[in-house]
C-alpha cells in the first residue's frame, strides 16, 4: 500500500477539519473494504482519518418510531442489539449475513453505506426501509443517497454520523450469498409501513441498489408473495460477471422478493 498520514480525531468537528486540510484524505471506519483496496493500490489516499475514537458515533437506540444506529456501530453489535431485535428483527438479520465473523467484528454500518458497494447488504436495507442518512451537515433520504456504483450523495468533507430507520411492521431481507465472498449475488429487502411499500435490490443492478416499482405497485393490493407471482423484471441493466448472467440475476430478484415477502409475513 502507498503511504499516508494517519489521524485519530475524537470529535466529528476535528474529523471534518482534518478532511478539509487533506482533500485527498479518506475516512477510516472498520477498514474492511478500504484497507484491502489500498493494499491492491487501487486507492491512494494521502491521509486516513480514523473515526474509531470519535465520541457518540456508536450504539443502537429507539427514538420515537425509528431505530437510530451510530455510523461506527460494528456489524456484530447491530446484529446482537436487543433493542433492534425487538423493534425490527427484519433489519437486525441483515448484518449477520455480512462477510464472516471477523469482518462483522470490525466492519461498520456507516462505512458500508458510504462505500456503497453494488453487492453490499446495508444499502438494500436503507433503501428498502426509506432510511435517513444523517451527516455532520444534513439529513439525506436513502432515495437520494445512493447515486450509483460506489457513489453516494456525500460531498467532500461530509461525515455520516447516524442512520435512522423508520420502524416497519413487516420487513425482511433475503440474500443469495456468494459462497466465497459472502457478498450478495442478489439481495432483496422488502418492507411495509402503512401505505409505504418498498422492494429494494442489491447485487443485481449495474448501477447499484435500486427499487422495483412494478413489484411495489403490485404489492399495494396485498403485501404477499402471491401478489407478484409470475412477475419478472427485465435483464437489461443487470450485472454480468463470471458468477451470474444478467438473466439469472433478474430471475433471482423475483425469487428472492417472493421469499422475502413470505419471511416478512411469517
Amino acid at each position: 500500500m502507498y503511504n499516508f498520514t494517519f489521524h485519530r480525531p475524537t470529535t466529528v468537528r476535528q474529523a471534518a477539519g482534518l478532511l478539509a486540510r487533506n482533500p485527498d484524505g479518506k475516512l477510516l471506519a472498520g477498514g474492511h473494504s478500504l484497507l484491502p483496496v489500498m493494499k491492491q493500490r487501487l486507492a491512494q489516499p494521502s491521509a486516513l482519518v480514523d473515526l474509531s475514537l470519535v465520541e457518540g458515533m456508536t450504539g443502537v437506540e429507539l427514538k420515537g418510531r425509528s431505530v437510530v444506529i451510530g455510523a461506527m456501530t460494528r456489524h456484530a453489535d447491530v446484529a446482537n442489539s436487543q433493542v433492534l431485535k425487538d423493534a425490527m428483527p427484519g433489519l437486525a438479520a441483515v448484518p449477520g449475513s455480512i462477510g464472516d465473523p471477523q469482518v462483522r467484528n470490525r466492519g461498520t454500518i456507516g462505512g458500508s453505506i458510504a462505500n456503497n458497494d453494488p453487492n453490499a447488504d446495508y444499502p438494500a436495507a436503507c433503501l428498502g426501509l426509506g432510511a435517513t442518512i444523517i451527516t455532520n451537515k444534513r439529513r439525506i433520504a436513502a432515495d437520494d443517497f445512493f447515486t450509483g456504483m460506489f457513489s453516494t450523495a456525500l460531498e467532500d468533507g461530509e461525515i455520516i454520523t447516524k442512520i435512522s430507520f423508520p420502524i416497519a411492521k413487516k420487513c425482511a431481507y433475503e440474500k443469495f450469498k456468494h459462497p466465497a465472498s459472502g457478498f450478495a449475488l442478489v439481495g432483496v429487502f422488502v418492507s411495509k409501513r402503512g401505505p409505504d411499500i418498498r422492494v429494494a435490490v442489491t447485487g443485481a443492478g449495474s448501477n447499484g441498489v435500486f427499487r422495483v416499482k412494478s413489484f411495489e405497485e403490485a404489492l399495494k393490493k396485498r403485501f404477499a408473495a402471491k401478489s407478484i407471482e409470475g412477475m419478472t423484471i427485465p435483464a437489461n441493466g443487470m450485472n454480468s460477471d463470471i458468477h451470474a448472467s444478467p438473466e439469472y440475476r433478474a430471475h433471482l430478484v423475483a425469487v428472492l422478493a417472493r421469499r422475502a415477502l413470505a419471511k416478512a409475513n411469517a
Binding site: 503511504n3 484491502p36 480514523d50 471477523q102 459472502g182
Partner: protein, 157 residues
C-alpha cells in the same frame, strides 16, 4: 515514522512504524511473534486472526496505528508461562486438528471467539458456520471441528 504502543500478551510494547504498517507486520517483524501467520493477505483466510481488545480480528486488515493503546492477544499468549497448553490448544493436539499447521493459530484464535459468542456447548453446525472466516488449504476441517467442540467443553471445566 510514528510510535505505537500497545499491550501484547500482557506485556507493554512500543515500536516505530509507518502509518501503513499492518498489525500483522508489527507483530511478526517488530515483535518477532511469528505465530500469527499471513496466508492470503486479502482478508479471507483467517491465518492472521488475533484478539483485539478481546474480540477476534484479522491482523492483515488492521493497521498497527489503529491499535494504539489496545490489548492484543496472539497465539503465543494462550499457553501458561510454564508451557501448559490452553485447553483449546490441547484439544487441537488431542484431536489432531491440523495437517500442515499453517492455519492453526488463526483457527484457535477464531475458536476462542466462537466460544465467547456462543458459549461452551457448541454443535457441529454452529462451529462449521462460524468458521466461515478461516480457510484450511489441507481441507482438514473434520478434526478441527471436533477439536473446537472438545476444546470449548474443556474450557468450561
Amino acid at each position: 515514522m510514528a510510535t505505537v504502543s500497545m499491550t501484547v500478551n500482557g506485556k507493554a510494547v512500543t515500536g516505530d512504524v509507518e502509518p501503513r504498517t499492518l498489525l500483522v507486520q508489527f507483530l511478526r517483524e517488530n515483535l518477532r511473534l511469528t505465530g500469527t501467520h499471513v496466508g492470503c493477505d486479502t482478508s479471507q483466510c483467517g491465518a492472521c486472526i488475533i484478539h483485539l481488545d478481546g474480540i477476534a480480528a484479522k491482523a492483515c486488515t488492521t493497521l498497527a496505528l489503529q491499535c494504539e493503546g489496545a490489548k492484543i492477544t496472539t497465539i503465543e499468549g494462550l499457553a501458561e508461562p510454564g508451557g501448559k497448553l490452553h485447553p483449546m490448544q490441547e484439544a487441537f493436539r488431542e484431536h489432531h486438528g491440523l495437517q500442515c499447521g499453517y492455519c492453526t493459530p488463526g483457527m484457535i484464535m477464531s475458536a476462542l471467539d466462537i466460544v465467547r459468542r456462543n458459549g461452551n456447548n457448541l454443535d457441529e453446525h454452529t462451529i462449521r458456520d462460524q468458521l466461515d472466516g478461516n480457510i484450511c488449504r489441507c481441507t482438514g476441517y473434520h478434526n478441527i471441528v471436533k477439536a473446537i467442540e472438545a476444546g470449548a467443553k474443556a474450557m468450561a471445566k
